[in-house]
Every structure is written in structure tokens, then in C-alpha cells.
Assembly symmetry: C2
Homo-oligomer: 470 residues x 2
């Protein structure tokens, strides 16, 4: 078989670009740093949206939509926020054929405009908590774009909430972190993320506390898969989100924000892909089983049987595709199916049909087994379940075998050449962190020894994860 992709070991970033191109996931857009998400890639994102949206709504949040255009002055109201985002802004200066009186920015994130409306809607403690989410595009001008991971425009959900107390805000930011994000990433994406707290240096612009979920990529780097922020009273102060408390006093609200984006598609590729292409976990896969007509006889009996099998699988709750393009060489179609990473292929030709069989091919381990047609639905269910677990286990084992326990900043920087380093935070500190940064390594997050998320970076006994990152 001709080489389709650059092998990962040869050049991982190039392999990544190859997968995106050959699996027809995305293209570069005409304006620098933008992307076109093609149907195969967008179907992955739609499944992510559906699963995530259900989890977000289960926490009580409601979807809404706020404008793309934000007056420039809004961003200036929160000092850290404007400083963090100014270099990345896209600015509209002309509208309707005229120069605008005040330039407007294309939202890089919506804390400011949502803060403005929260201030309007929140009057009394009875209006709290106010739990909002939006699915939207945002723009952050990128000088070093990489499709899905860093693009000038990307798609995401951004949640914004207001609470009466700091405790309530913290509990909610953590609820999203664990119940929505971690649960989705572990159980749907099959990615064993490390969940922790960002250091002060790595925090979101304007946040008092940032929680993160970090995945290990196939080349041993780290990828931030999502974040949840406590914003303290910073935005409430800037936008006057206050309310009449139960005691009759006016109080400032406590806000949070949290988001995951199309970057997760990049994470999926980088965590599970192999030298033949993408491997999509069954729980996510838009197509879990691809029924393929290898070739057909003159009566089209194989195609009929393939469609019947697809119907039976669909009735049994499996997401199915059918490939009956017999005029295209089967080898080419098989390569394409590998590239796109369908968890299961069911290959069927005249001889298989005559024997009452179909060949069940599993993408995760490459196994090919002839199975009797009348038992295939049960076997498909079993394989999907097993392979979901197998992908998670493989990724976990890879992460563990590429994580070094180290004691010094030097050792951490060395370990980061091939994987992650776990190092006592007390051995790093603010200076050690700067030293790591100077060597291209960042502290991805802090966790407690038992793996739980700390309340402060000053807790004793914390572990820092240090790594190179995308």
C-alpha cells in the first residue's frame, strides 16, 4: 500500500496536517488563520456539541445569543482583560458604507457584553444564579495558526454565570469542569485528561482562578482541552452587576465563564490518531459502523443485503453509513475509511454473502473477522463498547509511560522533550516557572497528590505538570 500519511514518528505536526487534508476534515480559509470545516470534520463537531449541550443544560444553564460586535470601550473596562486580548482583536471600522463613530471589535470572548446585560437583568438575589451559555464563533487574530488548534476564527460554547456568593460561583465553575467537561472528555472522547488549576501566570485575563483539562498528544505534548474560570467580582465591578441581597443590602455578584471549542477536534486527532489516520471513539463517532459493498454481482444482491444490514443496525441504535460505490476501487475506499476512522467496517462481497457472512473490521486494533450475518448486530454492539474502553486505556497507558516524576526544574525541562514531567510545585515556584518558560515549557496545571483540584496554589504538597504544548 502506498504511503498515505507522513508517519507520526517522522514528523508529528506534518502527520497532523496530512490527516486533516486526507480525511477531508478541514481546509485553510482565504483569510490568514481562518479555516473551512468540511462535512467530515463538522460532523465530529456536531456530535461534540450535542453531547456537551446536554451536559451543560443538565447543570441548569440556558442557551442564549449575544452579538458578534462589541463596542471597543467595553473591553477597556476590565484592565487585565483588555491587556490580554488587545493584540488579538479584529476591528470593524466601516459599516453600511460609512466610517463608524466608534470602532467595534469582533468578539474574542463575550464576558464584557454579557456582563453589560447581566447588570440589566439581575436586580435581586432571587434572580441568581443566572446561568447562560452560547454556541458561537469568536475571533482572535493568530500569527501562528494551526487548523483546529489555533485559528483566527473558531467555534465554541462560552458559558457565563452570575452568583450571589463566591462559594456558589466556585461550586458551579467546578461543576461544569467535572460534570460537563471531564465527563464528556473521559466518557465520550475517551481522553484521559488531567484536571487541575492554572498557575497565576497561566490564568485567563481577568480571572481570579482558572481550571483546566489537559490532554497528552501523540508526541507527548500537552493540549488544553477546555477551561472554567472564576472571575471573582472583577467583571461584576466593571459592569456593575449588583443585586439587592436577602439582607436588603446591595451586593456585587460573583461571575464565572467556561468554554470548549473546535480545538477539541484537533485534540481528538492528536490523541487517538495513528499512522493510518483518525481513530474516532465509538461514543462520539457520527458513523459508528460503515457497511461497505466490496463488489457486487449483476443483480445488485450485495448492495441490497448491505442496505438491509444497515437498516437492522440503525434500528438497533447504531449510527451507520453505507458505502456502495462499487465503481471506485475497494482498496481506495478502505484507505479512506481508515483515514476517517470509523470504529467498525462491515465489508461484504458476493462470496461473503453466499456464506452468510460479513467481515467485521475494527479500527482500533485492525482485526478482521468473518462473522455470521444473523449475529452481527450483537457483535457490533460488543465491539463498540470494547473499543471505546480500549482507546481510553491506550491513551492512559501512553500518558503514564510518557510522564516522568522529577525533582528539579532542570529535570522537568529535560523530561518535557519527550513527554510530561510531574514535579513538586514547591520545587518550581514563580521563578522556576519563568525558567521553564524560557526553555519552551509551561506549567500546565497544579493538582493535589490524590489528583484532586486544589483551592489555591499555596496549598502544601501540590504537584505541577510541566510540558511543551500546542
Amino acid at each position: 500500500m502506498a504511503r498515505v500519511l507522513t508517519p507520526r514518528a517522522e514528523d508529528f505536526p506534518r502527520w497532523y496536517q496530512d490527516v486533516i487534508a486526507k480525511a477531508e476534515l478541514a481546509d485553510n480559509g482565504p483569510v490568514r488563520g481562518t479555516m473551512v470545516i468540511r462535512p467530515t470534520g463538522y460532523a465530529l463537531w456536531e456530535r461534540m456539541q450535542a453531547e456537551m449541550d446536554a451536559r451543560i443544560k443538565a447543570t441548569g444553564a440556558q442557551n442564549a445569543y449575544f452579538p458578534l460586535f462589541i463596542p471597543e470601550s467595553y473591553l477597556r473596562r476590565e484592565a487585565e482583560h483588555v491587556e490580554g486580548f488587545s493584540p488579538e482583536l479584529a476591528v470593524v471600522t466601516h459599516g453600511g458604507g460609512k466610517q463608524l463613530d466608534e470602532p467595534v471589535v469582533v468578539r474574542p470572548t463575550s464576558e464584557t457584553v454579557i456582563g453589560e446585560f447581566m447588570a440589566k437583568w439581575v436586580q435581586s438575589y432571587r434572580d441568581l444564579p443566572l446561568l447562560l451559555n452560547q454556541w458561537a464563533n469568536v475571533v482572535r487574530w493568530e500569527l501562528r495558526p494551526r487548523v483546529f488548534l489555533r485559528t483566527s476564527e473558531f467555534l465554541w460554547q462560552e458559558g457565563h454565570t452570575a452568583h450571589a456568593t463566591e462559594e456558589d460561583a466556585r461550586a458551579y465553575a467546578r461543576r461544569i469542569l467535572h460534570e460537563a467537561y471531564e465527563d464528556f472528555m473521559v466518557n465520550v472522547l475517551a481522553i484521559p485528561v488531567v484536571v487541575g488549576r492554572k498557575t497565576a501566570r497561566e490564568r485567563f485575563a481577568g480571572a481570579t482562578n482558572t481550571y483546566t483539562l489537559e490532554a497528552m498528544t501523540g508526541d507527548g505534548k500537552a493540549l488544553q482541552m477546555g477551561t472554567s474560570h472564576e472571575l471573582g467580582q472583577n467583571f461584576a465591578r466593571a459592569f456593575e452587576i449588583d443585586f439587592l441581597g436577602a439582607s436588603g443590602q446591595r451586593e456585587l455578584a460573583w461571575t464565572t465563564s467556561w468554554g470548549v471549542s473546535t480545538r477539541m477536534v484537533g485534540g481528538l486527532i492528536m490523541c487517538h490518531g495513528d499512522d493510518n489516520g483518525l481513530r474516532v471513539p465509538p461514543a462520539l463517532a457520527p458513523i459508528q459502523a460503515q457497511v461497505m459493498v466490496v463488489k457486487d454481482d449483476a443483480n445488485g444482491e450485495v448492495t441490497s443485503a448491505a442496505r438491509k444490514l444497515a437498516d437492522a443496525l440503525r434500528d438497533a441504535g447504531v449510527r451507520v453509513g453505507v458505502d456502495e460505490r462499487v465503481e471506485t476501487p475497494f482498496g481506495r475506499r478502505a484507505v479512506d475509511a481508515e483515514l476517517k476512522g470509523y470504529p467498525i467496517r462491515l465489508e461484504m462481497g458476493p462470496r461473503d454473502l453466499a456464506a452468510g457472512n460479513v467481515v467485521l473490521v475494527r479500527r482500533v486494533n485492525g482485526s478482521k473477522t468473518p462473522v455470521p450475518l444473523d449475529n452481527v448486530v450483537a457483535l457490533v454492539h460488543q465491539a463498540l463498547e470494547e473499543d471505546q474502553k480500549a482507546l481510553y486505556e491506550q491513551a492512559l497507558q501512553f500518558r503514564q509511560s510518557h510522564t516522568a516524576e522529577v525533582a528539579t526544574v532542570d529535570e522537568a525541562a529535560e523530561a518535557a522533550a519527550t513527554g510530561w514531567a510531574r514535579i513538586p510545585w514547591s520545587a518550581v515556584g514563580v521563578e522556576g516557572e519563568a525558567a521553564l518558560n524560557a526553555r519552551g515549557v509551561t506549567v500546565r496545571c497544579l493538582v493535589r497528590e490524590d489528583g484532586t483540584v486544589p483551592d489555591s496554589e499555596d496549598e502544601p504538597g501540590l504537584i505541577a505538570y510541566a510540558a511543551r504544548s500546542y
Copy 2:
């Protein structure tokens, strides 16, 4: 009861704004012409999206996503298109802290950028038809904005397809028109749209043929609810979308585009609303039945019973909400429920519960009937079905009684003061159309006498619908 809304008969546009504010559907955004869609309004849009998305996918189209930013030069490639959209463009001149070499426009629609990529992806007749759709925001600078109907930014779906022949493109544009749009508007929105062909004067910029669906608003005007366009080979020529035909010759493709937007939320309000607020058709309603605790005893028995009832309804496939805010006066909550237009309310207090009853209130006709708790699920299903039909019938009767059959342009202009005019197209023509326009009236569409959609405006015996419009 204090007056909540301006009566429709007094000032229809003001009533419309009142409903949007009081039912908490939307707010004006900070940048002129933009809007904030609040959770109650967004839930309507989400239901529209879900229903429409399923219909679009059933025609074989796939979702994708193209960039927000389009190089200005792309729009100039199709002369009519740039002329149509130039006055409405928002232009980004600065990105990442620098002036851009070439300004980029914020997409007003995506024919151009999608055309560019179709040219890349389409090589042979085997790649056709290429059926794409995207859910996205678009920007058209509005000088006279009205929430949901005309906003500088709105949400929509835009479909874009390429075909090997004109016949195939036409058949697909019409399939979307009828199977996706008309079916959704009639059967879900309960709006009796008139489906027809736009005159040359009213066509989309760059189209060879525009199909439209027109709804009558509560003040007898017309509202364009969606359009489907044949673009001929105009965009294929401008973007070089060509392919190797079966005969071995290179041929230009034929393209279509089609869209519906958040404007449909405005249409829903204007078609079905009454002086108490919105009336949401059951097939669309995010909440079909709102279970309301009127008041409760000390043990919270009514609240428990209400939750149990809600569970039973949910299990029976009804979309349910529960209002147990007994600390808020019931009258205020009832007014709010009327405003938001839940098709059914199930009101329950201690006395109802003791009698084994619940009061079933139907929004469409205002009827209030005590019904036994053990029969309520069946009665709710029946009421939802009946009221879906009733809304459609009311709207149809209203349209018919506000449509005049006329013979001259003068009569058409007069009739348009209070409703629609049906007039032979032969009595209007290009000059009559200009005369109508001068009096604030437009030809909304052309239909055949039997109500079907004509292939050309030159067919004999066509009927024109003339009206004032939003």
C-alpha cells in the same frame, strides 16, 4: 388586569416590540441594529433549528462551516452580487494590532467563499451534486433595524449546492422550498405561507430565479419567511466551478443557495400573537405544557404532585416545564405564561389536588377546564393536536379574509392598506410593479392559478400577490 401590552389594533409595531420585551425574547444589542436573543427567544430558535436541520439532512445535504471573514475581492467577482450587498457590508480593516493589507468583509452571505471551495473540491461529474449547508451568523448593516426582522447581525442556515445540469439544480432548489421550508412552516410553525416565484425586480443579487415563502402578519402585511435561489452559472463562472463531464468535456456547474433565519421568530410572533402575547404552536413549543403550582400547603404536597405530573407528561413525550415559584403572586405568573405563549397550562392548587383535578388552560382559545388527574396525559395530547390545527386554521382564515381579488394596480395599492391583493400579473407587469413600489407596495411573488410555482414570469395566467411588507 392591568394592560400589559399595547393592543395590536392600536399600534401593531409597538405591540410587537412589547411582546419581545415582556416575554423576554430579545433585547437590542449595544451596537446599532444588533440583538441579544434571550433564553426564551433562543429556545424557539433552537427548536426551529432542530426541525429544519432534520429536513435539510433528509434531502441529502451535509453541514459544514466556512469562515466569517471574506476577502473583499471575492465579492467583486460577481457584478450583481457586489452591487446588491456593498451598501450593507461591515469591513474589518485592522487585525492583530495592525492595518490589514486587504480589508476583509464580515460575510453578508457565503456564496462567494463557498464558490471558491466548490471550485477546489469539484473535479468530475462524480463529485456532483455537492450539497452543503451551514448554520451561521451573518452581518448586513441595517439602517432601520427591527428585532428579529431586520438586524445588523442575524442567525441563519445557508445552503449552497452545485449540480451538473440546470434541471437538477432547479429540482433541488424546489425540493428545499417544498420539502424543507414549506413543510416546516405549515406543519411546525402552523403558518399558511404562500409559495411562489419572485419577479426579476425582487430577485436575490446574482440569482437567475428566486423562490419565496410569504406569510401574512397580524396587521395584514407580508413577511418573507425564507427563499431558495437558482444561481444559474453566474457564481460557477465567477469562481470557476467546473467539472469533467461524463462526455469528457469540461462544463460549468449550476449552483443554488437557500436560507431561513431568526426572522422566522419574528414571523411566529407576528402571525400567531394576540393581545395577551405570543401563542406558540405545539409542534414547535420548547415547553408544550407548563405545570403551575397555584399555591401550596405547608407540606408541599401540591409541588410534589406537580412534579409527578410533569414526569408523567415527560414520559409520554410531552415537553414540560414546572412553575413552582409560589412566593411570586400567581396572577403575575399567569400573565407571564400568557406572554410566553405556552400552548397548555396545568394549574394546580390544594383544592384541585384534594378533588383529584387539575385545571387545563389552553392558550389558543383561553378555555379553562378542570380535568381529572388520571386522565390528563391523554387530554393534553388531544389538546396539543387540536390546537396545532386551530392555529393554522385561524391564520389561514385571517389570510383569506384579508386578501382581495383585484383587477388593477390602483385597486391593488388600495387593498394593500389593510391586507394582500391578488391581481393578474398581466395587469401589472414591470411598469405596474414600479408604480406599486412608488406607493410602498411590492409584488411579493407570482403563482399559477392552481397555486403552484411557475417556471418563468412569462407564463400566461399568472397571479401576483401585492402587499406592504416588513
